[in-house]
């Protein structure tokens, strides 16, 4: 490539990167310096570091409570997704009557977004007396069709002969899944863990409907409640945002390759 073109490409991508990063920079800067939000003109560069707003968050809201709730729900969701989807996918690799119909049903159900089923989901959760509980929060997210197909694709790639050998050696079906299939599908496992974690961690509409008291709120819900009684001119709100965003960003930076692959394969493998 000619140098002049490389410079143009860098300039364009650099400008886009700035647009993508400015919101983060702005929030991070304000939350770390504890400066007055009403100050005009606002300081573009940070002057003094001060954890003032973070201390505020600590005293204003039950942050630990929110984190614990979010973590409990995410753990239930991730574990349930691994178990349910791996089992369902293994069943789909076997031959049985009506398999085509089941696959067709699953594929057509993928078109129905969760948001279109919130009313029946709410009524069912209510009948089960699971409103306002961790299990109720986790239940609708416990199996996702996309992940079933991610697992199925991976299981289909395992050589038949290997499975037959395991069967001849007298392995029970569940041990075939555990000791043959899953160790050979680490990337499907990673995809499922990443997708289900992100979905449950960020989930907002469902907790908004199901949760009634502050004790049970998860992080996104706590964030929106905080917004509703503090309004958006409180620095602590942004410190709270940063604290909520950190786990996601950290995970992304650590496992970038897997993360991008996982999130996009969740969309493409369907």
């Amino acid at each position: 490539m000619r140098p002049s073109r490389a410079v143009a490409v860098h300039a364009t991508l650099g400008a886009v990167s700035v647009v993508m990063l400015v919101p983060f920079y702005w929030v991070l800067k304000t939350s770390l310096t504890g400066e007055n939000i009403f100050q005009y003109p606002p300081a573009l560069l940070p002057r003094v570091m001060h954890p003032f707003y973070y201390v505020d968050v600590w005293y204003y809201i039950p942050f630990v409570r929110y984190v614990i709730n979010s973590v409990i729900v995410s753990v239930i969701v991730v574990a349930a997704n691994l178990v349910c989807n791996a089992l369902a996918a293994y069943a789909l690799t076997l031959r049985f009557r009506g398999k085509r119909a089941i696959v067709a049903l699953l594929l057509s159900c993928m078109l129905i977004p969760f948001q279109a089923t919130i009313i029946p989901a709410y009524l069912i959760t209510k009948e089960l007396h699971l409103l306002n509980s961790h299990l109720g929060l986790a239940l609708p997210l416990c199996s996702t069709i996309v992940c079933i197909f991610v697992f199925k694709a991976s299981f289909d790639a395992v050589p038949r002969s290997l499975i037959d050998a395991a069967r001849i050696d007298g392995l029970a079906e569940w041990r075939i899944i555990l000791h043959v299939m899953l160790p050979l599908s680490t990337s499907a496992v990673a995809t499922t863990v990443i997708l289900s974690f992100i979905w449950s961690w960020n989930s907002f509409l469902w907790p908004l409907i199901v949760i009634r008291n502050q004790e049970m709120q998860t992080l996104p819900l706590g964030l929106s409640t905080f917004l509703s009684y503090m309004e958006n001119t409180t620095g602590a709100l942004y410190a709270f945002c940063i604290m909520v965003l950190v786990p996601g960003v950290a995970l992304f930076l650590l496992e970038q390759r897997r993360f991008i692959d996982g999130l996009t394969s969740g969309a493409t493998k369907g």
């Binding site: 490539m1 919101p23 279109a116 009313i119 992100i198 908004l208 992304f252 930076l253 993360f259």
Partner: protein, 260 residues
């Protein structure tokens, strides 16, 4: 179709809810229209993402870093993203107003999210900002699947860069573009978090979309029966849009190797 709420015995309501919806409910029509407007943000995002994907696909240093930076907004919690944008758009303390004033692009401060005209475009910008990196990664994967010798052959035959893009890259990229379009459509029907946090559907229903309206009818006004009718309309509308999109793009991308 039943008349039902937690406090009433259920009776069969026939089509009265649909009658009310289509003939008397102005907010319904407003929210349907807003959903369509909001949906139009996905072609914009896909166009931008395509340009970015082409740029990132060139052999330049640091393209991995660019890709990561552009992608990072996608997996983040939408509620937090909405709160951050709300602040950037703020009339008095927002960064965007400050920048516009400093550059003399505007004489007066604009109350983006509180004005009837600006609220929807503002929300659309935030939505595009969040999803553009995701589209870019999908399109990038599509670009990298195109065998390079095709382009080389065309270049040898004397095709210009524009011709190569139009006659080789674009047709081969069609499945990836279709996929983005599908995701964009479903996303615009379901993006509740961003709108709820940024505007709550206001001002004066300027940003009320079907999903925020359904939430309000069901869980604020406790009219489950009416909300269920709305949900049916949402779903049918989604099916129609999907079918049309499938038609327009030739339908080959929606094909998934189903059974075996």
């Amino acid at each position: 179709m039943q008349s039902w709420s937690p406090f009433k015995p259920s009776t069969f309501a026939g089509l009265t809810h649909y009658q009310e919806l289509f003939f008397y409910d102005e907010v319904f029509w407003k929210s349907l229209w807003n959903t369509v407007v909001f949906m139009s943000s996905s072609p914009i995002a896909i166009g931008l993402a395509l340009a970015l994907a082409l740029l990132v696909d060139t052999r330049i240093r640091g393209r991995g870093v660019y890709r990561a930076i552009i992608f990072i907004s996608y997996p983040l919690m939408t509620v937090a993203v909405g709160i951050i944008w709300r602040w950037l758009y703020d009339e008095k303390v927002g960064l965007i107003n400050y920048v516009l004033l400093s550059l003399h692009l505007t004489q007066r401060r604009i109350a983006f999210l509180d004005s009837y005209e600006w609220a929807m475009p503002s929300v659309v910008v935030a939505a595009v900002w969040q999803i553009v990196g995701f589209f870019m990664v999908i399109l990038l994967a599509g670009l990298q699947n195109i065998p390079p010798n095709l382009e080389e052959a065309a270049a040898l035959d004397g095709a210009s860069a524009g011709q190569r893009f139009r006659h080789i890259t674009l047709p081969l990229l069609r499945p990836a573009i279709f996929l983005c379009l599908m995701i964009g459509v479903i996303n615009s029907f379901t993006s509740f978090d961003l709108i709820y946090v940024m505007t709550g559907g206001g001002p004066n229903y300027a940003t009320e979309v079907l999903i925020t309206y359904i939430y309000r009818v069901a869980f604020v006004l406790s009219k489950f029966d009416y909300a269920a009718a709305l949900t049916i309309v949402l779903f049918v509308f989604l099916l129609i849009v999907t079918a049309v999109a499938n038609r327009l793009t030739g339908g080959e991308a929606g094909a998934v190797d189903a059974a075996e």
